[in-house]
């Protein structure tokens, strides 16, 4: 090979390499983040995900980082994960959570389970999407008590986040909407559908006679009648707002604070019963510490208040025996999903 030919080879090689380089860059940009494959268990419908926030592997990972990062709080001591603990179905076992300033909240921390099937958030449904929900705890003075301006500047100052936001969303400038997008992505992956009940439905487990009795009573309209609101199977709630007669005059007007509609006074969101044995205490104000107390409330304890749910209004007080109430509680325990509480994908990133 003579010299001129050698140089031609070199030039050609250089051109080829530079073209390859262009192609590779373009391909990575076009490809973007990797779509996240949700594993939706049988019994649950397909999840509706906002078109402007599709789940990606990179987005979910970033959301998980942010969820457990205390820089989102005013004094960098609390993260979302401080009051939403996986072993408690992402609630904290307290009647009221305590914020960074030592101030107690006024409502029980809600579990974070199967959020992708819900369209309003908070006990009163004040947040209209999961992304908007994440805006509140960060700035709420009795919770993480930060400002978004401050939290954002702290996030921006961390090179790792610069990198992760670029990977997840292709952005150079981190903004608040992308912070809450990422958190919402992670939250949508918190899916529970592998409880003993689900295994029983799939023919992989047996329910005890007591649990089976409880399941029958659950749907029996003259007994538990739980099924009207906590629809059996699937999400175990229709997530509608109801006044369940907790008080004759509600101290917290609930949904009314959002809609200003008098017929919403004392109404709160119907929670899911999945992992319910792990999320004590119960009700929007954490007034009941056991599931039996909850069932007793629906059996005998409810008040005939304005806006009382029609199903309760027409239910006969004292319609269940002690044994029947215990059977319903036994059935509710079959909704505990240990593959959810022990899922390593939800652990803090270490």
């Amino acid at each position: 090979m003579n010299r001129s030919m050698k140089s031609q080879w070199v030039v050609l090689l250089l051109i080829a390499i530079s073209m390859l380089g262009c192609y590779k860059d373009e391909a990575t940009l076009k490809k973007g983040p990797t779509p996240y494959q949700l594993n939706i268990p049988t019994g649950l419908p397909s999840m509706i995900i906002p078109a402007d926030n599709p789940l990606t592997v990179e987005g979910v990972y970033l959301g998980r980082m942010l969820f457990y990062d205390p820089i989102l709080s005013g004094n960098n001591t609390q993260s979302c994960g401080s009051c939403h603990l996986q072993q408690h179905g992402f609630t904290d076992g307290l009647k009221y959570s305590v914020g960074i300033d030592g101030v107690e909240g006024t409502r029980n921390a809600m579990p974070l389970i199967n959020l992708g099937w819900q369209s309003t958030f908070f006990w009163d449904g004040g947040a209209t999407d999961l992304e908007s929900q994440a805006l509140d705890p960060v700035v709420n003075p009795i919770e993480m008590h930060d400002t978004w301006e401050n939290a954002l500047s702290e996030i921006k100052a961390i090179p790792m986040y610069q990198h992760l936001f670029k990977k997840a969303f292709g952005i150079d400038e981190i903004t608040v909407p992308y912070v809450v997008k990422a958190i919402a992505q992670f939250e949508r992956t918190l899916i529970s559908g592998d409880s003993k009940y689900d295994q029983y439905k799939r023919g992989e487990a047996f329910l005890t006679p007591l649990e089976l009795q409880g399941m029958d009573l659950f749907t029996d309209m003259s007994k538990g009648d739980c099924n009207h609101c906590h629809v059996l199977g699937s999400t175990f709630s229709d997530f509608a707002f109801r006044n369940t007669g907790l008080d004759s005059i509600p101290g917290d007007e609930g949904r009314f604070n959002i809609t200003w509609n008098p017929s919403d006074k004392g109404k709160f969101k119907t929670p899911s019963l999945r992992n319910i044995a792990l999320t004590a205490p119960y009700m929007h104000d954490g007034r009941f510490s056991t599931l039996l107390e909850c069932v007793e409330h629906y059996n005998t304890g409810f008040h005939y208040t304005t806006n009382l749910d029609p199903n309760l209004y027409s239910a006969q007080k004292g319609r269940m025996t002690q044994q029947e109430m215990e059977a319903i509680v036994a059935f509710m325990h079959t909704l505990t999903d240990e593959n959810f509480t022990q899922n390593a994908d939800f652990f803090p990133v270490r």
Binding site: G126, A127, E131, L135, E149, T175, P177, N257
Partner: protein
């Protein structure tokens, strides 16, 4: 014979390489030249540039932070913070066509970069270039008022959103007022909710032309905001955040006043 064959194939490879090299080089050059000629050929006509400025005043006085301003029939007040959203501004021509100028703009009295917005609307194909109205709304429309996951001026970082009940704060006035005893007391008004959305129409007289710049100066008079139709008394009424139905009468009174508070400055 064998060596000739070798030489032949050697020459062939060499020829092929030369050809490929020159071909790719000329391709690269061609693509460069293409771009240049395209740029030369396009005759660009710049659409009109329209700038809408919002000038906040109390009566005829410009606003200075912390200064107390007298107002008609009520307590003097000051401003430390004054922000509001202007959305879907449009010019309307004689044929009734609308030329949209913005989506949502956050006006912030104390940020010189947030005193208005600019737009370059295309006037091609319009039956009239004479515009007699400007329309806009104070607030954020219902469609955009149900999520905080929005970019630009609707980014929650500006603190113009309620997070416990998703919705934008259409207008914020924070400052002080002088009570009947003459003492300064806090004044905090956060105006919003669907019922607070306030459409405005103002007359203009503008012939838009390509290549030219137009300024529209809109005055927002806080004196009128607190007295144009309903006199808003601050005493005992000085912290209102549109949080419940008890605030509805105030919202509707403010709305009626705000509808009268904008005017065009020459």
């Amino acid at each position: 014979m064998k060596s000739k064959l070798c030489l032949n194939s050697f020459m062939k490879v060499r020829l092929f390489l030369s050809f490929s090299l020159y071909f790719s080089l000329s391709l690269a050059l061609m693509s460069c030249r293409d771009k240049e000629t395209e740029e030369e050929q396009v005759v660009t006509v710049n659409p009109p540039s329209v700038r809408v400025n919002f000038l906040n005043k109390v009566g005829d006085s410009a606003i200075v932070a912390g200064h107390f301003y007298n107002r008609d029939g009520g307590e003097p007040f000051s401003l430390d913070l004054f922000k509001y959203y202007i959305s879907h501004a449009a010019l309307v021509n004689d044929a009734g066509d609308t030329l949209y100028l913005n989506e949502h703009t956050l006006i912030d009295e104390f940020d010189v970069n947030r005193h208005g917005f600019s737009s370059n609307p295309s006037i091609e194909g319009l039956s009239s270039n004479h515009f007699n109205k400007i329309i806009f709304a104070l607030g954020v429309d219902q469609l955009h008022n149900t999520s905080g996951d929005q970019a630009g001026d609707l980014d929650p970082v500006y603190g113009m959103i309620w997070t416990w009940s998703t919705g934008y704060i259409f207008l914020k006035h924070e400052g002080q007022f002088l009570s009947s005893t003459g003492n300064p007391e806090p004044l905090l008004y956060h105006y919003g909710t669907v019922k607070a959305f306030t459409p405005i129409t103002l007359p203009v007289d503008i012939h838009l032309e390509n290549e030219k710049q137009f300024n529209i100066n809109v005055k927002f008079d806080l004196n009128k905001m607190y007295s144009a139709v309903n006199n808003i008394g601050f005493e005992g009424n000085n912290v209102i955040q549109s949080t419940g139905p008890d605030d509805l009468p105030w919202i509707l009174q403010m709305k009626a006043n705000i509808a009268q508070s904008f005017s065009i400055l020459d």
